[in-house]
Symmetry: C2
Amino acid sequence: MVYFLEVLRSKLSLNLWYFIFMEKKKKNPVTSIQVAKLANVSQSAVSRTFTAGASVAPATKARVLAAAKALGYRPNVIARSLISGQSKTVGLVVAYLENHFYPLMIQQLSHALQADGYHVLLFMAESGQQDAVIEQILQYQIDGVVLASVTLSSHIAEECANIGVPVVLFNRYVPDEVQASTVTSNNEAGGRLVAQRLVQAGHKRISFVAGNVNSSTNQDRERGFIASLNAEGIELWSTAIGKYRFLAAAEATREILAKKPYPDAIFVANDHMAFAVMDVIRDEYKLRIPEDIAVVGFDNVPESNWGAYSLTTVEQPLTEMVAATAEILLQQMKDKKVTPTHKVFDTQLIVRKSAEI
Amino acid sequence: MVYFLEVLRSKLSLNLWYFIFMEKKKKNPVTSIQVAKLANVSQSAVSRTFTAGASVAPATKARVLAAAKALGYRPNVIARSLISGQSKTVGLVVAYLENHFYPLMIQQLSHALQADGYHVLLFMAESGQQDAVIEQILQYQIDGVVLASVTLSSHIAEECANIGVPVVLFNRYVPDEVQASTVTSNNEAGGRLVAQRLVQAGHKRISFVAGNVNSSTNQDRERGFIASLNAEGIELWSTAIGKYRFLAAAEATREILAKKPYPDAIFVANDHMAFAVMDVIRDEYKLRIPEDIAVVGFDNVPESNWGAYSLTTVEQPLTEMVAATAEILLQQMKDKKVTPTHKVFDTQLIVRKSAEI
DNA sequence: CTGAAAGCGCTTACAG
DNA sequence: CTGAAAGCGCTTACAG
């Protein structure tokens, strides 16, 4: 009798083992039904085991978990998305990552969202393909959208708002009619600050290298800068457009330096361009920074602190800005309500060697 | 009679308009059933209209498209994914984006995949959280995975291979047993090249700043470099570990410069660290580059060409490497067959001012 | 070329 | 606490 039981048991466990083996071999992902079968419970019980806060008896849960582990089961998020209407996915639209500000932003945003079970789906929006990107975003049933490093954001923001998907504009804004939240720094105040400090330090011939003239960041920085300059009774010495790009900024610098006398200070609309400006000033014109020309940037990307540049710049509090972006988005996705909120962060001047002001 | 028809028509179109209005108002995304109703066709016909290559009569298709447009319909990719078993999503696992090599990689990869209708789902893998990332990857029914800028990739690669998801390791490799494709440059040859050229140029006291000692890139670069150095009858002057990080590399440089006589050349395992090395040499030790110490990096990131560094470096052909990554992945996702392939790209020395060799 | 129907793998009232 | 059943929005044989 004991022997008989032994045989039965080993036969059972053999069968069990065989069942597991066959299921795993299929390579088709294991489903909750297979787990239910092995655990001898209903498929609902399996689902509940993997749903936080659902009511399952501890014993049942344990049995399900054991079966799931044996088979290598993992809930299918696609199916969950379809039924729950939430994809646990946030669309991040960016156009270019040359400016180091954005990779850092991506890294931190992705990290913050992952902590809440969301993931970032990336959309590279080349200029001129905005409409294609909108289509793609809307097809993936994305729970929220962050727009960063994109021009012409307002169209995308509008479409998303229309179908009730929360949108946060990072470091940019669009006309007030559009239902979108924004997270920005006070670009205008930053521009004013630079003007004041340059003038206080005795600079007289002050030039400006603009970024993308259509972007809100550039417009605000420029407006604040020039307004404050004029308030001090100083006219802008010269200006050129760098489009927020390295090579274009180098070219803009040459334009500015084509006219003599040279400016004694240049405010550049972001750090990424400021590095190009510094290279041209030093390497091509053999001028000293800051003695001949002081240079001030905007952003405070890590490279600003590299010894070869040591760039004086207006800091945008990236970490806080990203945290706010994640917070707003998570909040609105939870409430399923799109109530635009606008967060503006203070900026501060980080003084380094390129302009001792 | 004419009047009667007029009334009927206006009433019909009013009803039609009302129907569209009500459907749009719901804000719930429009479904194929609603479109079918409006277009007076079956739901299947709507589906076929949006399935490339499905057989639909042109007239039917036109009617469906008109209805879809009126309602603002877009196929739900989540539902499509569930039934087709393809999420049109590629998981990209990265651990840090400080090194500019990776943002550029992301940008190009994302772009290449979008051209084929795939999108990048980002997974930030902080060290020590590898297992959590694996779980996340497997839950999203991802069609393929790219591992870049991650240590301990082999575990992730193995798990994915087990369930039949194609994996491409970008710029790294893992033990041969693991079923994963790799795209790398010939790091060992790159290391050899640097050694030869430094020796040829007359350098005698040659040091090395290592990256992450566990990474295949660092091991290969170091092995090639030292083997070639020894073959020329030269012993490595000194070495220190920079972990592929900026601050750690600065510290490593100080270690190396603690011993006199100073090396007359330093090979740094990547560009990102080389900038830190150059800063310390020039700013802290007031030495000249390349006269006192020549510096050579690896990668040829855009910053290498910035005037303030003008870094001599071994170029990794990023664009070609990314293209190969996308190609392999797209191919394997189409075939639904994981046959590891290994692409190795040639490297070349880009000579700039930091080492005239 | 077209429509009715099955089914992808889940969640979630509902009844017990 | 549990299971049977409906249903999320699609695709895709199948029969006509």
